[in-house]
Structure formats: structure tokens, C-alpha cells
Symmetry: C2
Subunit: 355 residues, 2 copies
């Protein structure tokens, strides 16, 4: 493997000195880029794009050709594991992901297999290997998975949800069934992420998109507990280098201390929390990733720059900050605005890293 | 007007002693009740139900006939003000509320009239007067309005939204236009709520359903500032009695201190915060309303009772707690479960009110 030319992202996650604040964007390979739309059209549907290592690699690298990003993230779907468990993932136009065979009872959970990361999920590992090779050490590659709770919401609801009726019914009426399911998913996520690390991912991130719909007690019980299990089960160093792990719970701002207590290296922040407050609460223990409102990219360049400066000032001096949006980039953002954002982070962060 | 027979709800909001913890449910008059569905079918569409004082009164009183609730809440829509401003409210099946003429620019805002509460909105005041008369002093009547930010999201987006693209574009690119709009709405909300108070509402609540999609700075700037203006402009005592005002921002758990600083009497909590933490943070200044996850009503009676006990214990001894769900009751909840919930609050709260 080539020597890593830019390791700012990995260093910042470990709170090691950096020259400028590293930056990447959640969903940076995506529909706001015309070249992404072209490749996706070539692939056919979304899962075909995910399952083709060459094309998944191509879309992963596209944003890096446009912007001076400090990390690449594997292009894949968060529902690869439930799909590999046999639930029958499909996409309904305008409806988002759906499962043909959702989980309804304990018997369904007992029947779930543990997918083999180099078997049913080998297409993901092939994508990781291809991307890592093509990156040629330019920047680190981030691997990822959905959190057990977040994956379980789709598996039990049968798709996207607003009120999370079915899974909450299960949580309150049949908690042991849900715990069995979450535990199985956690085991599969551990194998999946460890396989990504072995295939070349230099850092991993767990996306808990839906943990924020729970009460504090239920969040700890049904979501955080299983992310903790994942953190404990991950390969934390590989190829003589530490593999940092980032946990991100959308709307989890009130629970940062508990998230940091899992032993993860970094905590992702959405934009509903002031990064200065977050740093005061947990910044001695973990690095922070975030946290500009993705909608700020609709504003004019000057406004975007001002916002970047404000968040940089909020974090203040020293390492331990990976700049990002607080959620995935919106699909109708002008790509040039993303460029302004990335440049602004580099331009205005120098002053916080002089010693 | 008849003497108020049960004033627990009003007393708890003012932190005055009560015998047991008062309870009501957001959206307690609603689709989970078969009798509501029957009345709504009689009325035709939703707005016809809101605009018919007799039928609006009937559905307001329906849950009180089933459950031992400590307050009634005016049955109405949160979008009555923008409708009266001439935006052309209509309901698309499965799509929720829509406006024919959304706000797109400063000129649109300048043209907006201030609706007359006893003119275009007189149907609301008629409903308040009819309900108050029919309640005959059994329990207090709560009046309400949407918050300026929440109303503005519908007015600018043209209906419900997920990403709030248009209003955030306005907030970041043209903040002065949005401030003009929010200020106009706030003035209309003040007249509207004061008219409800004069018509018979004994307490008022402001629902900020969408404040939680903002960053802390933008929440204060675009949502809380205008709720503060409303609190300052409200009639705070009427008919020799204090008229308590409750502010509720969904997903506002991180900003309780700032909400309490407006001078409101009570802060509504959703279920993503532990009520014991909320009390420790602001309970010396305001009463708290909340905060059971509405999905808990899917569980079996024993589980519901246990949850009620847990929240009561979290709040602990003394007055200053109005029990409620953390959001509106779901439409597919068994009505008997709502009954179990209400009874449990009364049954298990006695011990916290002995002196």
C-alpha cells in the first residue's frame, strides 16, 4: 500500500497536531454532483451502483477531483447488512428503501443469518479494496455502517418511518425480541466493519440516524448499548496504525457524554448543538466531527465563509476537530458552494493550529 | 361564568400546591377516538370541523367524557392565522396541509394583512366561547397557536417539509425578509391569543413544532425571539386570575434555559429529555409539562403504568408538573390505553403531593 500523503483526518480524530483543520462532507459522493448522476445512470439502479466495485470507486473519487477534501468515504448503502440477511431490499420511487420481508416476531429474528463479509457482502469489500488502491494514498478511506438501532428501524418498519410505530411497539411490548435482533445486528456490524478495515478502510464511522427518536433511557438501552458493543469489538489498530472510530447519533446532542463513554475516538455532531458547548462537555475525551447546517450551502459564498469561521472559532485552538456538515449534503446544493465550504475550512483554520 | 371546579392544571402551571398531578394529552381530541371520526365525517372536511363552533366544541369535549382529564384544549388547526392572511389553506390527501399562495419574497410579506381575531378568525373565538360555556367550569380551557417560526415554515415551504429548504434559504440569504415575516406573524399571534383569552381560554400554549430543526443560534434568532415577543405581549391575568403561558419546542431539550428566560410560566418537554434533568436545569423558574413517549401507549397497561410511575418519580415531590405526552397522541392508539395513562397519573402521583 502507498504511504498516506495526507493524514490530517486521522490525526485530528486522535487529537494529534495538524496544520489545518481537515474537512469532508457526509454524502459527498452524491446527487448534487452531475458526474454522480451520470455514473448512476450508467449503473442502472442504486444497488447496482453499490455492487459494482469499479463504479462505486468512481463515485467515491468524484468529489475528491473537485474539492480539496481530507478523506474519502466508501460509497455504499446503510442497508447492505439487512439486505445480506435476506430481507429483500428494494427501492420504491419516492418512497425510499423498502424490505419485502420485514421482521415481525422472535421467530423471524432467530432465522436471521450472520452475513459473511467476504461472502454475500464481498461486493462491499471489493469496493473498499478498489477505492483504496485508486486513492493511492492521497487521503484516508472511511468505512461505515448503520447502527444496530437504525438498521433495526428499517428491518422492523419495513422501510422508512415517521413515527416508528412498529419498532416502538416491539421495544415496549416485547423488548427481549428487539434486544435479540439488536445483538445479532451488532455482531454482524462488527464483522462487517472489521472486514472493511482489513480490506483497507483506515477509519470507520457508525451512523445512528434514528437514535434521536428515543427517550434518554431507551436510547442508552436500545441504541447506545449496541454501538458500545461495536466499539469494543472493532479492530482498533491495523497495519501499524490506529483505526479511529466515530459514532454519530443524529439529534443526540443531549447524550454526548454517554456517547464519549463508549471509548470511541470521535463523536459526530449535527447542527443543533453549539460546538463550543460540545467541546466543553466532552472535548477532553474525544475528537468532534461537525457541524454546519447542510442548508447553509444554499446561502451565498460570503455567508458560507462566515459560518465556517464561526464554527472554527467555536471549537477554538488545537486539534481534535474534523470539520463536516451536521448531516448529509442536500441533493440540490450548487457544487461550487460545497467548494467554497471546503476551501474556507482550510483557509480560516490555520490560525487555530499555530503553536 | 361558572366557578372552576378543577383548577389543578392552572395551579400546577403556577407551581401552587395540588392534591395530585394534573394530566391532559396533546391532540386528545383526535382520530384515535371513534366518536371524533364520526363527528368529523358529519362535518365533512377538517377545516369545516374547525369552523363549526358546535362541532368543534363537541370534539373538544369528547375525550373529557371518556377520561378524567384536568384540562380541555380548543379544537382547531395551527394554520388558522396564515389561512386568515389569505394564503389559501387546503388539505391534500396523504400530503397534509398545503398553501395555494406561499410566501416567496419581501413583497409577499408586505402584502400580508393582520387578521382580525373577531373578523376572519371569529370562528375560533366562537368555538372558544361555546366550549367554555359547555365546560361549565369542569376543567380549564387551553387556547393555543403555532409559533411564528413554525407557521412561517408552512407559509414559505407551501406545506409540510422535511429539509426546510426554502425557509432556510430565506433565513441565510435574505434574513431581513424572514424577520419581517416572523414579526408580522408574532403580532398576529399576540392578537389571536389575547382574543382567545378574552373569549374564555384560561391558559395558552404556543406550539413550536419545528424550532428543533435549527442550530442553537438560529433557534434563538428565528424562533425563540418571536415567542419571547409573544410572551411579552400576552394578557397575563384576566377575570382576576393569572393566565399561564406554556412554550413547547419539539426537540428543544438543549435550550430549556433560554426558553425559561422568556418569562413563560411553563415549558413543554418532548420525551427525548429526562424530566429529572429538565427540573434540575430550569425547575426553579418554570413549571414543566410532559413527557411520556406517545408510542408508550402501544404497550400493555402494566408497562404504561410503570412508565408513568417512572416519570412521576423523575419529577419528584411538589407542584410544577403537568403530566402529558411528549407529543400528540398517535391516531392508532387504543383509547383504553389512553385511559390507563390518565388514571395512572392520578393514582400514582398522590404520594408526591403530601406535605
Amino acid at each position: 500500500m502507498s504511504e498516506l500523503k495526507n493524514d490530517r483526518y486521522l490525526r485530528a480524530l486522535l487529537k494529534q497536531d495538524v496544520d489545518i483543520t481537515p474537512v469532508w462532507m457526509m454524502r459527498q459522493a452524491g446527487r448534487y454532483l452531475p458526474e454522480y448522476k451520470a455514473t448512476r445512470a450508467e449503473a442502472g439502479d442504486f444497488m447496482s451502483l453499490c455492487k459494482n466495485a469499479e463504479l462505486a470507486c468512481e463515485v467515491t473519487l468524484q468529489p475528491l477531483r473537485r474539492f480539496d477534501l481530507d478523506a474519502a468515504i466508501l460509497f455504499s448503502d446503510i442497508l447492505t447488512i439487512p439486505d445480506a440477511m435476506g430481507l429483500g431490499l428494494y427501492f420504491e420511487a419516492g418512497e425510499g428503501p423498502r424490505f419485502e420481508r420485514p421482521i415481525t416476531c422472535a421467530a423471524d429474528v432467530h432465522k436471521l443469518p450472520h452475513p459473511d463479509p467476504e461472502g454475500e457482502l464481498q461486493y462491499v469489500m471489493n469496493a473498499v479494496r478498489t477505492i483504496r488502491k485508486d486513492l493511492d494514498g492521497a487521503v484516508p478511506l472511511i468505512g461505515f455502517s448503520g447502527s444496530p438501532w437504525t438498521l433495526a428501524t428499517y428491518m422492523v418498519e419495513g422501510g422508512s418511518s415517521k413515527a416508528f410505530t412498529k419498532i416502538k411497539k416491539m421495544a415496549f411490548a416485547e423488548p427481549q425480541t428487539l434486544h435479540l435482533l439488536l445483538d445479532k445486528i451488532a455482531d454482524s456490524v462488527i464483522s462487517y466493519l472489521n472486514a472493511q478495515i482489513k480490506a483497507g478502510a483506515q477509519s470507520v464511522m457508525v451512523f445512528d440516524t434514528w437514535g434521536g427518536v428515543l427517550s434518554p433511557r431507551d436510547y442508552k438501552l436500545f441504541s447506545l448499548q449496541y454501538m458500545h458493543k461495536i466499539v469494543d469489538g472493532l479492530i482498533r489498530a491495523y497495519d501499524s496504525r490506529r483505526v479511529p472510530v466515530t459514532l454519530f447519533t443524529k439529534n443526540g446532542g443531549m447524550w454526548l457524554e454517554a456517547i464519549a463513554d463508549t471509548g470511541c475516538d470521535a463523536v459526530g455532531l449535527d447542527w443543533t448543538i453549539d460546538i463550543a458547548d460540545a467541546k466543553a462537555r466532552v472535548g477532553d475525551r474525544v475528537a468532534l466531527q461537525g457541524n454546519m447546517d447542510p442548508s447553509m450551502l444554499y446561502a451565498q459564498p460570503e455567508r458560507i465563509e462566515k459560518e465556517v469561521q464561526s464554527i472554527l472559532a467555536g471549537f477554538g485552538n488545537g486539534s481534535g476537530h474534523v470539520f463536516n456538515l451536521g448531516h448529509g449534503i442536500h441533493l440540490d446544493v450548487p457544487p461550487e458552494h460545497a467548494g467554497v465550504f471546503v476551501e474556507a475550512v482550510h483557509k480560516y483554520s490555520k490560525q487555530y493550529h499555530t503553536k
